[in-house]
Every structure is written in structure tokens, then in C-alpha cells.
Symmetry: C2
Subunit: 509 residues, 2 copies
Amino acid sequence: MAAAPVWSVDPRTGKQREQVAVEATAQEVDAAVRDAHAAREALTDRTVRAAFLRSAADELEAARDRLVEAADAETALGPVRLTGELARTCYQLRAFAGIVEEGDFLGVVIDHPDDTATPPIPDLRRYKVPLGVVAVYSASNFPFAFSVAGGDTASALAAGCPVVVKAHPDHPALSELVAKVIRRAAARHDVPDGVLGLVHGFDAGIELIRHPLVAAAGFTGSVRGGRALFDEAAARPVPIPFHGELGSLNPVLVTEAAAAERGEAIGAGLAGSMTLGVGQFCVKPGLVLAPASAAGDALLKSLTDAVSDTGPGVLLDHRMRDNFLAGVTERAQLPDVESPVTAGAGGEHTVSAGFLTVPAERLTREGAHDLLLEECFGPVTVIARYTDEAEARAVLSRLPGNLTATVHLSSEEAAGQGRGAELVRELTPLAGRVLVNGWPTGVAVAPAQHHGGPYPATTSTSTSVGGTAIERWLRPVVYQGAPEALLPPELKDDNPLGLPRRFNGRLER
Amino acid sequence: MAAAPVWSVDPRTGKQREQVAVEATAQEVDAAVRDAHAAREALTDRTVRAAFLRSAADELEAARDRLVEAADAETALGPVRLTGELARTCYQLRAFAGIVEEGDFLGVVIDHPDDTATPPIPDLRRYKVPLGVVAVYSASNFPFAFSVAGGDTASALAAGCPVVVKAHPDHPALSELVAKVIRRAAARHDVPDGVLGLVHGFDAGIELIRHPLVAAAGFTGSVRGGRALFDEAAARPVPIPFHGELGSLNPVLVTEAAAAERGEAIGAGLAGSMTLGVGQFCVKPGLVLAPASAAGDALLKSLTDAVSDTGPGVLLDHRMRDNFLAGVTERAQLPDVESPVTAGAGGEHTVSAGFLTVPAERLTREGAHDLLLEECFGPVTVIARYTDEAEARAVLSRLPGNLTATVHLSSEEAAGQGRGAELVRELTPLAGRVLVNGWPTGVAVAPAQHHGGPYPATTSTSTSVGGTAIERWLRPVVYQGAPEALLPPELKDDNPLGLPRRFNGRLER
């Protein structure tokens, strides 16, 4: 049987551009994983890891024009956005280099013997070691930042784990290019090519998650695909951690006072956030609770104007376009749902943005309208008009887990008067990131960032963005009674590497 | 249909002592979980949590005599061991009170806005919040330390999570007693009874893991039972973290030089460790790689003497006794396996300790002897005699994950001469705790402790003992752009609670 070809496709025309590769066979997946496994020793030295990550950023920047062009040809995301995304990807690689050097992620804890404890404490020295080969399933919508050289890969390499990436079929040519660039950076530090494997094909993705030498996985994508892989990871003879980011509705609550104070601005801001990147962000606001009042009407008027002014856009692929059109149509046909601006087919290959409205009351109990509580990928959002706050809260209480939850408050509420603090507290169980008077699109790379949330937002309690993303690829090990001469330098009393640690109970920084 | 009775059984006679309860129905499990869920607000205040944990320790100590008597009647573990285990349990509760007060577990990270970052960083403030109701499946072999008031419960309460415990059928009466004591402690701080639910019955355990309001689970027990519950947790519509400690062989490698230097002492130490608590520890050394040399013979001679001198003991229940006897018989019948001291039935209700030997070569490839690489709960161990170190390493490379791995080195090797450091490094992938010149039984409660390891030792990368056990029951949340007035005190700039944190990238302690 001939190997299945992997084509690069132009989403602006739906036409095949070139054959990039063939889908990986089980044997090829096995070879990639074994090569990665063999490369892990080369990542033992943290100095090498940090230097490799910085070189990766340098090499990506050096290849910027070619990479942005390749990415645009396969994703239609446009050079401005893609240049920014590449810059973010490089920033992220360098941020992880800094994290590797600081070493706080090692979680060093040293306890000297203590005979007064119950039971007595022997000499114990703990730190974290890399899990092993990490499988990374890259995303359609972030060809740089959540793909071959994205956050999962950067954090795994930072942790000392080699990576095998399952390329997303929406940008196979770019994936090959980026992998080559990263391997060039690896070679500069004598790290073997195998440190970054790349495979194409749906079946290859299944083989990968089942491979005995794969120790953990990161995923960004749909609920359906992510859950299938999560189930595979859990069903293995030796289950492995599966850190998947699956789907999110990203609810927004606009208080009556906020709508009264700046309804127009909120409507315009919402239009910008929900249409950004043609609505293809996992943090797109997909459900907005707005008051059924004159102030709410003003918000909708502004939203209508701004969305109407938004030009058509190209989605990442034609399957996505079909799903978007079908999803919008199905939602629009529900009773009491209106379409002030109809989202739909723009031209033959484009879509136009729109939004739906529904009385919030329709969402307070199980029924056909529950479809509105499911993510619809693309430039559309649902405005649920509430008559009082209890109704809005009843809707919020029915939501599945989210990456983000947002509240728009008036100046007085934001200053602590009224129910501002209470609303922030009430949104907290819903999401991993809670925003006040902002929009969830745009996920900063920062130490405090948390990009994750209750299922199905993520399949674990971890984050895929920010400094703590490295924690996903490590496991602790403690040495008991090991003489100083046998200890790794990270665990020696005199702390030759200057690591932050907990020493005999006390935090040292 | 009448509810199934739950009996307290005396393992010394196999006779029923009293009917303690009835197995919980689905409705009763639901009620326990809902009561626990309702109690979570009472745990919001960290001051209350710390005080509650200390009161729990105080109340357990006040009830010590009655508790130890009740535990001994159902487990036959003896008052000395049980008094020690209760002391350890109280120590652990107080240690978590200290951890709650210190607040480092909250993982506070604060980033002020930074427009120079790519993309720009808004105001971000992250900390960890409790997951919700935790299901705890208690262990047979630690009626205090890994049961109703054990490490899972203590760490969950410390995290702010109410608990519903599935009682172990080996000590239902004690479980009821301990639950009452903990609830008395809760009442002293106006924490409702529901904060600690207790249910009996196998089916109740399944209902519990499936309950939509259960947010995470802790388990200590067998591979079979633990895997079944892990699978249930993963198959839920909303999967939840399952932190299970399932099984471990706890390999020990004795170098030729160590055997030559102190073979007799090692043999005696091994006898003590493998027969401690009638071999009913999850960290019992179950496979010992000893040299097939004169020095190894001396080790075995000493082991033979010490094990022969060990009196018979009562196992926790009769099913365990049956499994032990069958397991020993099946192993002893394998080709080339010898029984220098035959483990087996002592009296009608007791068992006697013993050990088996096998040429290590038999374990270097797949075959019938793989049974020897499976845990056999009770006072028996397997000594694999190796002819050279390569053979010993070939056996080690075939082992599943372990809680512990131990190496016995000579003084010179321990001082850094020869292959000491290399062996420690080679054992690290095998286990969560690596010991040098010690025995794995005895798991200290300490900040650095890690009681976990690659599957099947544990189903996650977490620990069930030590300060970091609290991390299992938390998830991060980040607030973006929230005005100071709306922030919880943990995240305010001026740090009114004096928490350790990362502030604008810098670690503050």
C-alpha cells in the first residue's frame, strides 16, 4: 500500500499547493520516538538546554521572512499577525531559557535528619527530573505559538524532555520548515536531530500516544480530538499524563451599571475580540450575558455597527468553514434566537462575522438551546439578554469549564462598591483566567499566566502558557541517605548552583 | 432489598465482631458528597483550616487509647505499631497546619503590566484554589496514616477541600470512630460535619468516583482496585485527577563490594525490613539483587537466620492470607526457584515469613519468571543472584515503576569511588525515592518526602506523603486586570498576609 501523501493546501483557494511528505507509518513513529528517547541525555545539562532554547529563538528570527510567508500560504492568517506570533514564540523560548537557568522549577527541597520528628526524618533531598519523551499535538490556529516550536515544545525542552510533534494538517510545510530550524539550533549545541521529531497523519498521532516510550503529551485542539487522545492516554497499560486544551466558551458578563456607563465601548470591544483572527481563538468570547435594558440595547447597537463593518475572512481550512456555516445555521434556527448581523458565507472561500441573540431565560435549563453553550469556532458569538442578575447567574451555573471568564463592571463596581468583588469570586469556579474590564483574546507569556481551566477547557489542572507550563513534564524524586559524594550538584548542601530551594523547612531564594 | 451489612472482623480469628453499618446506597453517597460540597465555604479561611487540622490532631490524641484498641481489634497490627502510626498521623495533621499558615502552596505569582513584552503583559495575579470535594479511598494496611484521617484527608483539608472517605472493609469500626473524632474537631471551628463524609461498600466506592461533584480522588491499595477506579475517573464525562498509589516491588541492589564489606548486616537489615508489619508495607523490598558469590552467600546465610527467627504473624484479613499463600506457592514452583526459608501458613490464622532465590539470569527476559517481578503482599521477598553487574542491570531495566529503589554500596563506593554515583543515577528512572544504604520501609513525613513513582507505583506524578501532597487538590487561577479592591488579600501588592511569592519575576520569601 502506498503511503498517504500529505499536501499543503491554500485555504484562500482550497487548492493543493505541494506534497510535503507522506503520513508516518507505525515504524516511522517508532523510529522518531526512539531517536527522541536517545537524545534525552544531550538535554541533561541545564546550561545546554538554556543555550539551545535561545539559539532556537535566534534561528527562528533569522528565518522570519521565509517562515511568515510559508505560514501565511497555509493558514491565511496574514503577515502582520504571523510576524507577531513568531515574535511571541521566540519570546517564549527565551523566557523558558531564563526559567531553566533560575532553576526554581526543580523544586529542590532538602531535609537534614531529624530524630525528634514522628517518625524520625532521615536525610532527604528532592528535586524534579524530566519525564521522558513528550508527544506534542499542534494546533491549527497558532502555526507558531502552539505548534512545532510553540509553548508545549518550549516547556518540554526546558524541562529536559525531547519532543515528537504530530504536525497539524493545516500547515505541514511550515511544520517541516520549523522543525528544520529547531534542529539547526540543536546542532549548534551538539544536541542530536532526534530531540525534535515530526510526524504527519491521523494514524501516526494515535501510534504516538500509544508508544511505550512516550511519557506525556500536550495537545491543543477540539474537544472531540482531544478527548479521543486523552482516552487513549488513559487506556494505555502504563497511563501517561495528557495535558490537553480542548474547548472553551469564554463567558462574559456585562453588568447593568457597566452597560449604562460604557455600553458602546463594550460593544465595540467585543466586536474586536470575537472577530480577531477570524474568530479562531480558543479564548474567543462565545457567550455574552448582557442586560435586556436600554443600556444593553446601546451595547448591541454598537456591536452591530462594528461587526457589520468587519470584512470577510478566510478560515484555516474548508472543513472548518463548513462546520462554522453549519453551526451558525443550526443555532440561528432555534426558537427566539435572532441574528442582528448574520454570520455566514462571505465569498466562495471566506466567511463573514455575525452574532446571535437569545433571551437568557432560554439558557437557564436543559433543552435545545444548550447548543448555544457549545463552542462555535469562527467569528460568531451569542448575546444572552438577561432581565435580572439572578437569571444571568443561573446561566453561568450551567456552563462547562472555561479557559476564561470575564466581567465588565462600572467604575464604581470596579472600585469595590456594589457586587464587584462578589462577581469576581463567582466567576472563579468557571475558569482558569478571570478578567475584569478586558477581553480574553491575547494570552500574555508571563510568569503568572495560566492558560487552562476546568474540563473541557483542559484535561488537567495545568497551563500551556506561562512559566509554570514547565511543571507538566517533570516528576519529583527524593534521595534518602545518599552521601554527599553521590548527589547531583542540585542537591548538595552548599548549593553550588545557587538554586532557590527549601532547606530544612525554610525557603531560600 | 435489605441494605448489605458491614461487619467488623477479627483477623486473629476470622470471626465477625459486630455489625458497624450498612453499605451506602447511591442516594447516601450522593447525600455525603452534597454535604461535603456544602461544607467547602467553611474551609475558605486558611486560619480556620490550620486550627481545624491542629484540633483534629488534639482530638485524635485525646482518644488515643480507644482508637488504638479499636484499630488493633480489626487489624492485629499490635498496639506498639498502632500507637506509633497514630502519632505519625497527628504529626502529619499538624505539619499540614503549618503548611497552610505559611502559604507557599498557594503559588502566588504577580506580574505588573509590561508593555515591552511580546505580546505586552497586562496585570496578572495567579494563585491556587481548592478543586472541590475529594474522594479518599483508604488503605487496609495503615488504618490511621493512610485512612480516614490520613495523608490524603489531611492534605485535602489543608488545601480547602472537603473529603468523602470510602472506608476500607478491614477496619470499618475504627473508620467510624475516627470520622466522629474529626467531626468533633470540625465542630470546634464551626465547620459542618459534612466536611468529612464516610461511606462503606464496594458499590459506594464506584458511585463516589462517578459523582459529578467529586473533583479529585486519592487512593492507596492494589493495582487491580486502583486501576479500576482510575479507569472510572478517566471515563467520566468530566474526567478528574486520580492520585492512586497502586503497587511496588521496591528493588534493592547490593553491590559485590557492599556484600563483601557487610553482607551479614545487610541480610539482617533486609529480614527486618521485609517482615516489618508482617510484610504488609507498600514499600516492602520485594526483589533483591545480590551477587552470586561468597559474599552473597554470607548475606543469604544471615537473612536465613534472621527470617527463621521471625515469629508467625496475622495478616490484615483472610483474603489477603489466601492470596499470600497462593502467591508464594505459585512462585516457589517456578524452575530454579528455591525457598531457603519457606513462607507459608503459620497456624490457622497466621503466616510465617520466608524468602525465595532465583538466578538473576532467569529474570533478564520475558517468561514465566516474570511473576517474580510482581508484588506479593506479605512477608516474602525474592533474592535474584547475579553473576555480574550487567546481569543485574538487565533485570532492573525490565522492572515496572516503583515507589522506591535502593542500592547498598561499600564505604568506598558510598564515598564516591567506583560506580556509586552511576548506580544512583541508574536507579533514578525506576522510582520516586532512591535510597543508599538504607531500607525503604518507614516513610518519613517531611517537606522533601516523595511517596510516589512511575506507574504502577502511582497513577500520577504526585506524592501522598510530605508537604507537596497538598498540590494534588489545587488548581491555579489567574486574575487579569482586576482592580486592587476586587482582589483576594493573597494577591494584593502590599502582601498583607506575608505570603512567599514571585513578584514581577523575582522570588520573595
